[in-house]
Amino acid sequence: MGFKRIAYVTMVMAHKDLLDFWKAKMLVVAFTLFPIVMMAIFGYMFPSITSANPYAGKFSSPYGRLPIAIVNEDGGRAGEEIADRFAQLASSTGLFEVRDFASLEAAKERMTEGKLKGVLVIPQGFTESLSSGRQAILTIIVDDTNPQAASSIFGQASSLVRIISEGVAASRISGLGAGADPMALLEPIGLERRPFVRGSATTFQFLAPGFMALTVTLGTLSGLAATISREKEQGTLDGIMVSPVPRYTVVVSKVLAQTVRGMIQSFIILAVSMLFFGVRVYGSPLLMVLTMFLAVLSFSGIGIIITAISGEQETAMTSLMLINMPMTFLSNVVFPIEQLPWWLQVVGKSLPLYYSADALRKIIVLNAQIHHIAPDLIVLALYSLLTLSAAIPIFVRSVSR
C-alpha cells in the first residue's frame, strides 16, 4: 500500500474523529470552556500588580493581600509610629492586610486557625533601643505551613522594614546637619534590581505557559482514552478493522485528531491569558506551535497504552487519574520543582510535561530561539518516538485478542 493511500486513510479517519467531536455540541462547549475557566481561576489566584500602584514592579505578591497582624508590646512613641508606617506601606503596596492585635497570644490563636498568615511584633523596649542609638529589632512570625508563602511574606515584610529603616536613618543623618547626602552615607554602594524580562513581568506571565502545556496534556490523555475506548465499546472500531487499512493508521489518526484539538485548546488559553491577564508573548508563534505539537505527541503513546491495557472506558479514565494528578504537581507547572525532595524531582523530570512547560515558558517569556530549547524538544521527540512505537503494537494486539 502506497504512502499516499496510507496518508489519505489516516486523514480520513482523523477528519471523521473531528467531525464526530464537532457534532457533539455540548462537548464542544465544555471543551472550549475548560481552558477559559482554568485560566480564569489561575489568573485570579495569581494576580498581577497593576500600574495604578506606585510600587508596581517593585513589589508583587503571588498571593494577593495576605492578612497579617501587628502586635505592639512596646508602648513608646517610636513603636507607635513604626506600626502606623508599616500599615500604611502595606496597604499602598497591596502586599498585606494589616490588623492590630493587643496580645501575641491572641494573634497566634488566629494564625493557628489560618485566619492570619503572619504576626509582626514590636517588642518591649523598642523605642528605648531606637532612641539610645542601638539597633532596634522587629520580629515577624510567619505561618510555616506553606513554606513558599512563608518565605515570600518574610521577604516582603523585610523590604517594607528596610524602607522604614532607611527613612529613620535619613532623618537622623540630616539632623546631623553638614549637608551630607544621607543615601551616600547609608548605602555607599547601591544595588538596583532591573527585571530580566521586558515590561512588567507578572507571576502569571511565568505560570501561563505551564498551564498551557498542562491543559493540553490533560486534554490529550483523556481525549485519546475516551475516543479509543468508546469506539471499541460501541463497535465502530470493528468497522475500521474489517476494512483494508493498516492497523497503525488508526492510532496515528487518533493522535492527529487529538493534536488538532489540543492545539485549539492551547490557543484558547493563550488568547485568554493575553486578553485578560496581561500575558505577553515575546517569542515566535511558530516555535510555540512546534512545541505544543510535541507536547501532545509526547503523551499520546502513554494515553494509548493505558487505554489498550484498561480495555474499557471507566477503567481507562480512572487509570489516567493516576498519572494526571502527580503530573500536575510534579512537573514544575504549579509548584517550583526545586521545592520537591530530590526523588520527586526525578519523577517530575521523567514526565514529558516538565519539558514542554519549560520550553513553552522560555519561548513565551524569554523569546528563546530554537537552539535555546533544543534539549527540551529533543527529549520530547524521543519520548514521542519511544512511547508511540511501544503503543502501536500494544494497541494492535489489544484489538485482535
Binding site: V9, K16, S229, G239, I240, P244
Partner: protein, 257 residues
C-alpha cells in the same frame, strides 16, 4: 469454496470458545450458522473476518488465508456485526462516506454508491439526520448496507434481525434474499429457527464451540424425523438452559459486549 476453516480454535484463558472447527461454505450459498447463546458463533465470525486471531488453526476466506493475507480477505468481505458499526452523531451520508473512503472509494463514484444504498433501504428522507435519532429498524437497515459499499463477494451477518419489529424483520429478510443476487455468498448467524429455515440453503449447528452437523434444513428434518428445525435444534443441543460456570467471563471481555 467461499469459506474453508481448518481446525479453527479460539481459547480465552483455559475456556475454549471455538473448538477445532472444520467448515466449508460454497460460493453463492446462504449458510445459516445456528447455535444457542454462547455457542461460539460470534467468535467464529470474528476469526473469519480477521478481527480476532485464532489460537490454533486457520481458514481461507474468498480464497485467501486469514492469517497470511488478511488485507485480501478484508477486501472480499462485508460484515454486519452484533453491534452497530455506525457513528451515532454522524448522519447516514457521513457514516457511509467515511467507510467508503476506507475502501478507497472517492468522489462521484462514492456519492452515487452512497445514495443508491440509502435508497435501497428507503432512508432518503432521513439521510441528513444523526443516526443516533433513528429507530432500531432504521439503524439496522443502514448498518446492513454499510457493509455493501465495496460490493463484497462474501457477506457475514451476525444476528441481523435481533431486536427488530416484525415489519423490519420482514424487510431485512427480503433484503438478505436480494443480496445473494449476482452470486454473493452469505453467512448468517442466528438462533431463530424460522429465519434459518427461510433463508438458508444449508445450516450448520454449533454448540460448545463445535460444529455438530451441516446439512440442508430438509435433510436435517428428515434425518431426525421431526417436523421443524426447532425440534432438530433441541434434539441436537439439548433442552437444558445455557447457564454454565464457564460463562462467568473475565471482566476484561466486558468491553467487547
Amino acid at each position: 469454496m467461499a469459506v474453508e476453516a481448518f481446525g479453527l480454535t479460539k481459547r480465552f484463558g483455559n475456556f475454549t470458545a471455538v473448538d477445532h472447527v472444520d467448515l466449508s461454505i460454497r460460493e453463492g450459498e446462504i449458510f445459516g450458522l445456528l447455535g444457542p447463546n454462547g455457542a461460539g458463533k460470534t467468535t467464529l465470525v470474528r476469526m473469519l473476518t480477521t478481527l480476532m486471531r485464532p489460537t490454533e488453526g486457520t481458514a481461507k476466506v474468498g480464497g485467501y488465508d486469514i492469517l497470511r493475507e488478511p488485507d485480501e480477505v478484508r477486501k472480499a468481505i462485508g460484515l454486519v456485526a452484533e453491534k452497530l458499526i455506525l457513528y451515532p452523531r454522524l448522519n447516514a451520508v457521513e457514516n457511509l462516506m467515511f467507510f467508503g473512503r476506507l475502501y478507497g472509494m472517492e468522489g462521484e463514484e462514492l456519492r452515487r454508491k452512497v445514495d443508491e444504498l440509502i435508497e435501497m433501504v428507503r432512508l432518503e428522507g432521513f439521510k441528513d439526520f444523526p443516526i443516533g435519532g433513528y429507530s432500531s429498524g432504521m439503524r439496522q437497515r443502514l448498518n446492513i448496507v454499510r457493509a455493501l459499499l465495496h460490493d463484497p463477494r462474501i457477506l457475514f451477518l451476525d444476528e441481523p434481525t435481533a431486536m427488530l419489529d416484525p415489519q423490519s424483520i420482514r424487510f431485512v429478510r427480503d433484503l438478505i434474499k436480494d443480496l445473494r443476487k449476482g452470486g454473493r455468498t452469505i453467512i448468517l448467524t442466528t438462533h431463530i429457527m424460522e429465519e434459518a429455515e427461510e433463508l438458508s440453503d444449508r445450516v450448520g449447528i454449533i454448540d460448545h464451540g463445535r460444529i455438530l452437523v451441516v446439512d440442508t434444513p430438509e435433510g436435517l428434518k428428515s434425518k431426525l424425523g421431526v417436523s421443524n428445525l426447532l425440534e432438530v435444534f433441541l434434539e441436537l443441543t439439548g433442552r437444558d438452559l445455557r447457564d454454565r460456570a464457564e460463562n462467568r467471563i473475565p471482566i476484561r471481555a466486558v468491553g467487547r459486549m
